[in-house]
Symmetry: C2
Subunit: 192 residues, 2 copies
DNA sequence: TCGGTTGTCTAGCGGTGCTAGAATCGAGGC
DNA sequence: GCCTCGATTCTAGCACCGCTAGACAACCGA
């Protein structure tokens, strides 16, 4: 069995290498630069090897997305844990979210802009995605306000952050107002 | 001169045909299906003809985006004109915006998701884009609240709508809560 | 009717995601 | 230690992409 175990380990290792390399390449040069040929060359295997791990490019994007979701959830939880008041927690959450999107555009795009073949708002949603939403919900349910369903409030707050993140990064918002935009959003949306 | 005039008219007509066909195809089958070959076939010309009107596919997307921006601005203005109170105007604005995004996904994507080579938040921004933002600003400046810069408030409100539109359409939000989400957003963000 | 310009097409470039079938490698039996 | 055979990896190629050079045809003005 030891031989098979070693092979399995090597296979898993190579799969991690593929995902990490795809993400690295995407962060460096954008997802357009992530072609199966370039990716194969970087991992020093031939193209078809990719297809023994993933059904296609879409699944590779999906794998990067799941990795990103895990990191996003961790970043949000770390930021909110340090803050004192509910309002400070929400500001920290928003800042952590926007910082993550700005610092990891490729991972963020894999999650929310590109088609990684992932399901959302559904029982078949992968665990990391549900957990990322849960990380938002944990802090935001404190400030949803009376009579407002926390899940729905979280969707609205999340959508607002998503809009700020994507429009901001695409150069469609004035860069210098990033901070006041977040403050305004928190002050108006959160009930404390 | 009449011959040249006729030729110019025909050229302009064909350009409109290209843009309309590209948009139609994108609305029917998504932007992925809009290839230069298919587009050329639909307008019953050969591929290179497209390149005598536009520098490339990106510029065609940009043309659809400008068309969409004009329609979006008109839709928002028509909806807000009918409403009585400031709050009702903002709700109407939000609904018109989200309805436009849902009913014209290809045009909306050309505007805000794809790279149409257009500039934003800049003096070189094309007129239709500035006007669409202005259409939002006209209604939203009423409810920005004291001491809040209307332009910045509009950016935040717009980003929130954009987030709801994109995440909603991608199936990342619960469909049945679309209306309460808009109501919540307006009640919290708008000061009346 | 002809000459020349203008416009359009055919054909092809290098690239994409993906795959069939050949070739190679390595584990296990003798 | 060799040899067989199955698993693994590669080479080569598919159909398609955006885009363009150069051949060709059509039309306008003389």
């Amino acid at each position: 069995m030891s031989v098979q175990e070693r092979k399995q380990r090597e296979l898993a290792e190579r799969e991690r290498l593929i995902v990490a390399t795809a993400r690295e390449l995407a962060e460096q040069q954008g997802w357009d630069a992530v072609t199966t040929r370039r990716l194969a060359e970087r991992i020093e295997y031939s193209q078809p090897v990719l297809y023994s791990h993933f059904r296609g490019k879409r699944e590779i994007i999906g794998a990067v997305a799941l990795e990103g979701a895990t990191e996003l959830a961790a970043a949000v939880r770390a930021a909110t844990a340090e803050a004192g008041s509910p309002r400070a927690r929400v500001v920290a959450l928003g800042r952590a979210y926007l910082d993550f999107a700005a610092a990891n555009p490729a991972a963020y795009d894999a999650l929310f802009q590109l088609d990684g073949g992932l399901l959302f708002a559904n029982e078949a949603t992968p665990e990391p995605l549900k957990d990322a939403f849960a990380a938002l919900l944990e802090t935001l349910c404190e400030v949803a306000g009376d009579g407002v369903e926390p899940g729905m409030f979280t969707e609205v707050f999340w959508a607002s952050l998503h809009g700020l993140a994507t429009l901001g990064r695409a150069g469609r918002l004035l860069p210098e107002d990033a901070e006041p935009r977040l403050e305004l959003l928190v002050d108006r949306l959160a009930v404390s």
